[in-house]
């Protein structure tokens, strides 16, 4: 299998504080990779380095075959990103948001029109296309944000706690969207707090205090740590944490 993301001893320091401490991993193309860890474990920082938003202090990494130091602008063409903060414009309509993000990725007008129509149909939001995003409920917004993140059909999408604050039904729908994207060949890199979501991933890594403590399939991890669920695995590992949550 082709490796689409690799990291080797990737490190980020903020002054004396080492947020991400020499993490190494490789992600296969088409994989759903779960990036787990307590608050403040360094998940978001690691993800921001891979997306070209944060400059690593040391170590190496490639995303879609591009080096994260020298080719970070090329990486940006190949990835979609959905941040922890909701990042669509509340004062633009659903369609206008899609047009804007599609436009700055250099998509053609026809592509934008067709894609917008198909997303609205998929989300059953045909009637809401001309409504301001700010007027939609949170669950819809999150699903919309995900659709916008993969609007330009990137090979990889990074999702930073995409289901935070969302009800269980919407979370389930959200994950079915993730499966659809994965089936279409998009590699998914997702951070989450919900251990039931970890079960949906092909492989998960668990970060504790800036280091990756475990990395395997959910089934293997449960066996190794003799736990009934991913919850148990997480609790066993996270208990070792000495760093305070942010």
């Amino acid at each position: 299998m082709e490796k689409i993301i690799t990291a080797h001893k990737l490190t980020k320091r903020f002054g004396d504080f080492t947020a991400v401490n020499q993490i190494s991993f490789a992600i296969q193309k088409g994989e759903i990779f779960g990036f787990l860890g307590a608050n403040g474990a360094g998940k978001t920082t690691a993800m921001r380095m891979l997306c070209g938003l944060s400059m690593p202090s040391s170590g190496e990494a490639t995303v879609a075959g591009f080096d994260i130091y020298r080719e970070n602008e090329k990486i940006k063409r190949s990835i979609g990103y959905m941040s922890q903060k909701f990042s669509l414009y509340d004062d633009l309509t659903v369609k206008e948001n899609m047009r804007f993000y599609g436009g700055i990725y250099g998509m053609t007008d026809t592509f934008i029109r067709d894609k917008t129509a198909s997303i609205l149909e998929q989300l059953h939001l045909e009637k809401e296309g001309d409504k301001l995003v700010g007027s939609l409920p949170l669950g819809w917004k999150q699903k919309l944000a995900f659709s916008v993140a993969i609007f330009h059909d990137p090979p990889i999408v990074f999702l930073d706690e995409p289901t935070g604050g969302v009800d269980p039904v919407t979370r389930r729908e959200f994950w079915s969207m993730i499966y659809q994207a994965s089936a279409a060949g998009i590699t998914i890199f997702v951070t989450t707090h919900y251990m039931d979501e970890a079960e949906y991933c092909n492989r998960v890594s668990i970060m504790v205090d800036g280091r990756i403590e475990a990395l395997d399939t959910p089934a293997q991890l449960k066996q190794t740590y003799q736990a009934k669920s991913m919850d148990g695995v997480f609790l066993k590992l996270a208990r070792k944490a000495t760093r305070a949550a942010d």
Partner: protein, 372 residues
């Protein structure tokens, strides 16, 4: 270029959907230009005068008539106790005390010499200064009147008198509005340029959309241009609105050409927009951006020559004004509006302003990073 189109489209949609911004852009200039020029008037009037008269003679009555007839003074108190008048000053009921000694008339007639005493409330420096000199001038006038009354043949006058008459070039009636309105317009343009840009970008930081944009392959120059152009255009609209108000309400038509004003304003706006951009790269939330631009505006206004003449500032302060883009535009505005200066007259100012625009935008572009 295509990316820029999408950015501009989005920016204009947001601007025209935000009633607060529209109100700021259209109502602020109207209110400021209609109200401020009347208040920001250098002419000191309504100076409250307390007179302590120990003489009660015909001459004192003549003098007082002359003082009150000037229109600058209001006789608030007429008494014969200095202490009582001082109390009026303490209660802010009088700005000036004029004490007329006993035997004023007698001294003036017999000894050809009399002394008057003037006490000035200097809490309001401008009022005290001007009030004092107005009063002195009136008393001098009165003095020479008295002289001519006695000395029938002026050619035998023991003292030569030099009379100075003056005419005010470029603003013959010394109408302060001609002087203030162009200046206030500059301040308005500066506020639109700096504050709106800074707040707009910092707002994107706050809601997190800037990160979503940083993760796209968009070039940072394109992004910055997409932010500057809409506000540049808004600035030009505000300028047009301001010039229209200046004409309709104050009858101010620039002696020079509108073209000169617009050319300078076009470059000036890029300079202040660059400054706004710079503020936004250093501020992490809207409060910080507001405070920083407020601080800058204070310096710009007080060290910009709007209210006080730069030539009368201490040398070090004059040096600071050279780094203040506002001071150049205020001067250019006044030159074009009052003196009819042309593009070639303001050439040097134009170059300096281009320098400011390059400096601020260059610095902002360097300090704006897509990756932290």
């Amino acid at each position: 270029m295509r990316t820029l189109k999408f950015l501009l489209q989005k920016e204009f949609r947001q601007i025209f959907r935000d009633p607060a911004i529209l109100r700021i852009i259209f109502i602020m200039p109207v209110i400021q230009l209609l109200v401020l020029p009347w208040a920001a008037d250098y002419e000191t009037k309504n100076i409250k005068l307390a007179v302590v008269d120990h003489d009660h003679s015909a001459y004192t009555r003549q003098l007082l008539n002359k003082i009150t007839a000037s229109g600058y003074f209001i006789l608030n108190e007429y008494g014969s106790s200095y202490r009582q008048s001082l109390q009026q000053v303490e209660n802010d009921k009088a700005d000036l005390i004029l004490e007329i000694p006993a035997h004023f008339e007698k001294d003036l007639v017999k000894e050809e010499k009399a002394t008057l005493f003037m006490a000035i409330n200097a809490i309001n420096g401008v009022k005290a200064n001007l009030g004092g000199s107005y009063l002195q001038k009136i008393i001098q006038d009165y003095n020479s009147e008295v002289r001519t009354e006695w000395i029938q043949f002026p050619r035998f006058s023991p003292e030569t008198q030099i009379a100075v008459t003056s005419s005010n070039w470029f603003n013959p009636l010394m109408n302060y509005k001609y002087f203030m309105v162009p200046g206030i317009l500059v301040i308005l343009l500066t506020m639109v340029g700096t504050n709106l840009t800074a707040i707009n970008i910092v707002k994107e930081k706050e809601i997190g959309t800037i990160e979503q944009i940083n993760v796209t392959p968009i070039h940072k120059y394109t992004f910055i241009l997409g932010k500057l152009l809409p506000f540049w255009l808004l600035g030009m609209i505000v300028l047009t609105l301001g010039l229209l108000i200046a004409y309709l309400f104050y009858g101010i038509l620039p002696l020079g050409s509108f073209f000169t004003i617009y050319v300078f304003a076009a470059i000036y706006l890029f300079a202040v927009l660059g400054l706004g951009l710079l503020v936004s790269t250093y501020a992490s939330n809207q409060q910080q951006a507001m405070l920083l631009s407020f601080f800058l505006m204070m310096i710009f206004i007080l060290l910009g020559g709007l209210y006080t003449s730069i030539d009368s500032m201490p040398e070090w302060a004059q040096w600071i004004t050279r780094f203040n883009p506002v001071s150049y535009f205020i001067e250019v505005m006044r030159m074009v509006v009052l003196k009819g200066s042309t593009l070639s007259d303001i050439r040097n100012y134009l170059y300096i302003m281009m320098g400011f625009a390059l400096f601020f935008n260059g610095w902002a572009v360097i300090s704006y990073r897509k990756r932290s």
